[in-house]
């Protein structure tokens, strides 16, 4: 076992541990924080794989955006420090089943590619120029159409947000901000 593998297992343990804590915590704010750690762990995994761009986007979108939004909605709706009620039996069973089937599905997908052997012979091309060109090219494997569609979707979401928030409160501004940031960064990259 080399040092790389040790780092991988450490990061995975962090992700899984934080994930389990996120769903079992009785304090909603703590759940959000554990979720944050889990997502940071995933970003760390990307860094480990040396796909820095994806890692950075993971942090910007999920950690800087989604979790902040979640925290904001907790601030605005929940009473401080209240514990959530214990989930009912049936709920627990259903969530266990759901996660099991999710695991099985993922396993099924991965097992098509010669088991779990790590193949490092095929390096990623992660240069920014490459990503940018690929994103906006119209030729084979170009992503211009989905990219523009996503932009439209985000724009529609943003307009919707503004319409709903005729009396703008800070969290809606925040959500609009985050969406705008993402779309703009993706648009203007390169």
């Amino acid at each position: 076992m080399n040092i790389s593998a040790i780092i991988f297992y450490a990061i995975s343990a962090l992700i899984l541990g934080a994930g389990i804590l996120a769903v079992t915590s009785v304090k909603i704010f703590r759940s959000a924080i554990w979720l944050l750690f889990s997502l940071v762990g995933i970003a760390a995994l990307y860094f480990w794989m040396q796909v820095e761009f994806i890692a950075a986007i993971q942090i910007v979108v999920y950690v800087g955006g989604i979790v902040v939004l979640i925290i904001f909605s907790i601030f605005l709706t929940q009473h401080s420090g209240k514990e959530m009620p214990k989930p009912t039996k049936s709920k627990m069973i259903f969530s266990a089943l759901a996660s099991l089937s999710g695991t099985a599905f993922t396993y099924n997908l991965i097992s098509h590619y010669d088991g779990f052997t790590f193949n490092s012979s095929k390096p990623f091309n992660t240069s920014m120029n490459e990503i940018g060109t690929q994103m906006l090219s119209t030729t084979n494997y170009g992503y211009i159409l989905p990219f523009e569609l996503v932009s439209m979707l985000l724009l529609a979401a943003m307009v919707g947000c503004i319409v709903i928030a005729m009396r703008p409160s800070s969290n809606q501004i925040a959500s609009a901000t985050i969406m705008l940031t993402e779309s703009e960064i993706l648009n203007k990259k390169d």
């Binding site: 009473h79 401080s80 420090g81 409160s169």
Partner: protein
């Protein structure tokens, strides 16, 4: 309604309609003393403000009932400590009026000059504290540089820098210091130069203007109804300068303008005070070279006894109209004494002015009310 002790405990939970109840004070950087405001917030917007007073209430009125007419003046320095000299003047004027004591002209001139210096010192401190409330620290030091000159003049004159106690019924306690006139002239010169700095640093600052214009508006009717006086009422366009309405000392002899603004917002209150300082300088300039020679204290008996009856004296302090009401039964001590403090009435308008505005606006509004807590609590 909330019980006072309950409020202090209840800081963690939201109110019945999801509003936040925040205790601003008794220890809070913006209340400048031990004022306790229970602020009900809806997000950042203020729904209600309820002042809770009495943290430094010393019952000065009760104390004065057992003090003689010479002694009780000194207690009044501890009320509005920034206008202590003016408070003392009010008490002395009342005793002089009640006993028909002649005050020598020299004493009257010096009293008037010192009153105006006190007013400038108070406004200087206010500018600093007000700017600090709005988050600007530097004007505080600029204002204190000039205020220091005044306190030094006061120190030379009467040995104290804050609670002057320089006035006795009938005149002054001592004659003025030989350097008094020169120092006051030096101060006037310096002040005229440096007031430009305040204008640059504070008045013309875009952020300062946007923080104060249209904030904490008080209409003229409300100002009268709430009993507001001083710069607060004058910024709303109410003529209420006691120096003009019922002149005392030598105010009738000097020329000065009553500063009136009509906007009624925080910026107007700020401008009134800035302009008032210039008017005070004007008054001092007229008097400082013509202080008459002569006695500094009139002839009085050793034991003062006010005749049976009721007496009232109004003066204009830096914060507004200060009134002393004495009911005498003819003895050496008053039967009942009441101090009408300007801050108490001005504070009562705070809730009305700040409702519906943001927390940041509350600071601008409260800052321009120029509250001195011992003056409110007495």
């Amino acid at each position: 309604m909330y019980n006072q002790t309950e409020i202090i405990k209840d800081t963690t939970e939201l109110g019945p309609e999801g509003e936040l109840v925040v205790n601003m004070g008794p220890q809070h950087p913006a209340t400048h003393g031990v004022l306790h405001l229970v602020v009900t917030l809806n997000g950042e917007t203020i729904k209600k403000i309820e002042p809770h007073l009495g943290y430094i209430h010393r019952s000065i009125e009760k104390m004065c009932e057992s003090l003689t007419y010479r002694q009780f003046i000194y207690v009044t320095s501890r009320m509005d400590y920034l206008s202590s000299h003016i408070n003392n003047t009010a008490c002395a004027l009342l005793v002089e009026k009640g006993m028909q004591i002649e005050v020598p002209e020299r004493a009257q001139y010096v009293r008037t000059i010192l009153n105006e210096l006190t007013r400038i010192a108070s406004h200087e401190l206010w500018i600093g504290a007000m700017a600090m409330d709005l988050g600007a620290f530097t004007p505080f030091f600029y204002a204190f540089r000039e205020r220091e000159m005044i306190t030094e003049i006061m120190e030379d004159t009467c040995g104290a820098r804050l609670t002057m106690n320089y006035i006795v019924p009938g005149g002054l306690m001592y004659d003025i210091h030989p350097t008094f006139q020169n120092k006051v002239k030096a101060f006037i010169k310096q002040f005229k130069e440096k007031v430009v700095e305040y204008e640059d640093l504070v008045t013309n600052n875009v952020i300062f203007q946007s923080r104060t214009k249209g904030v904490g508006i008080l209409s003229a009717e409300d100002a009268i109804s709430f009993g507001c006086t001083g710069p607060v009422a004058r910024a709303s366009g109410v003529n209420c300068d006691i120096r003009k309405i019922a002149p005392y000392d030598v105010y009738a002899k000097v020329e000065f303008d009553e500063v009136i603004e009509t906007a009624g917002d925080s910026f107007a209150r700020y401008m009134v005070r800035i302009k008032e300082m210039n008017q005070s300088i004007r008054i001092i300039e007229q008097l400082i070279d013509t202080i008459p020679e002569g006695d500094f204290v009139g002839k009085t008996k050793n034991v003062l006894k006010l005749p049976k009856g009721e007496f009232y004296q109004r003066v204009e302090t830096a914060r507004g109209e200060f009134g002393v009401y004495i009911v005498s039964e003819g003895g050496t001590t008053p039967h009942r004494i009441k101090f009408r403090s300007p801050g108490f009435s001005n504070l009562s308008a705070l809730s009305h002015m700040a409702e519906g505005s943001k927390i940041g606006d509350l600071m601008a509004t409260m800052g321009t009310l120029d509250l001195v807590i011992p003056d409110i609590d007495r």
